[in-house]
Symmetry: C2
Subunit: 189 residues, 2 copies
């Protein structure tokens, strides 16, 4: 039988950096249109230099159910019209698949929602393991002053479904006003 | 639909400790009979107090394919007739399932083998992510002077198959002589 070979990758656990990742995705502010309540504030941010919103460094493995994809997610600090920088958020394309996150650096939240609109969150902090059960969409929100970095693992076949979040959004927005974090419900479901 | 709820658990990433784990498995020297070449040395160790060999702290999730089991594995330092303390080692009961380890503390190796007897290893050190592909049995070996601690994640349905390792063993033994680590092949396959 022809086996896949074991391999290793080095992380700097305190800085939250993966050394020599095979893939590196960078999302700038301009890729976040439609996600923030204050569209004009986002356009001003894009015009002022289109800063990086978040980055993902990954070591790909085959897209099979028994494999495990893993990587490092970095969401930068900042606000758009008072709303904290965040990732697009997604369901898994294979919806009955979970994900494990481990906070390495920074402060924030993992927002999670069901298709029916239930929305919960867990705090990100260094050492915090967050379990995203099957069927929950998830989005990282940076409420701190430094990059929010996490290590994640999910099934190799899970895939991403961004489209449903682009249509539905999340029913909760995370704002920072005068240094204070607020969770604002935007609809009942 | 009745969804499983998200949850969080705190790790101390530098000490390698999970706070309030739901399950905590402890394996003493007496559970390691048959695994070391020097059976008499193991019996002396058992008679001298039967010290802990390794511990596993876990936060259980349902045994389903899309779920992810995770926890902390701690292998203590020491030798048995010159052979470094190690875990029993296992295949997954569902063999085509991978596992991801992250070294948090200490020094050692993850030995991996196929059913055909190919044996490879990756070094454990803080921040080192080791990918165990589907079908590879795996065993942690502590070659250092302090506890070797790792965080692991694997599919919820993977399970453990210890019996085949108890019958076959690993084709490589890890010794420490005069502070130097040696990998000794015990058979060609």
């Amino acid at each position: 039988m022809d086996y896949m070979k074991p391999f290793g990758v080095d992380l700097d656990l305190s800085k939250g950096v993966m050394k020599n990742p095979a893939t590196h995705i960078v999302r700038q502010a301009s890729s976040m249109r439609g996600h923030y309540a204050d569209a004009a504030a986002l356009e001003r941010l894009i015009a002022a230099g289109d800063p990086v919103h978040y980055e993902v460094a990954e070591q790909p493995v085959p897209d099979a159910p028994g494999q495990m994809r893993f990587g490092i997610s970095t969401t930068l600090p900042g606000t758009v019209g008072g709303e904290c920088f965040m990732t697009k958020g997604h369901y898994h394309a294979v919806p009955d698949t979970a994900e494990v996150y481990v906070g390495l650096r920074g402060q924030g939240y993992l927002l999670m929602k069901t298709v029916e609109g239930e929305c919960l969150w867990e705090e990100f902090r260094p050492g915090r393991v967050i379990y995203v059960p099957p069927f929950w969409a998830h989005r990282t929100v940076n409420t701190g002053e430094e990059p929010l970095v996490s290590f994640y693992v999910y099934p190799g076949n899970a895939g991403h479904n961004y489209g449903d979040i682009e249509k539905q959004g999340f029913p909760v927005r995370v704002l920072k006003r005068g240094g204070k974090v607020e969770f604002v419900k935007t609809r009942s479901k």
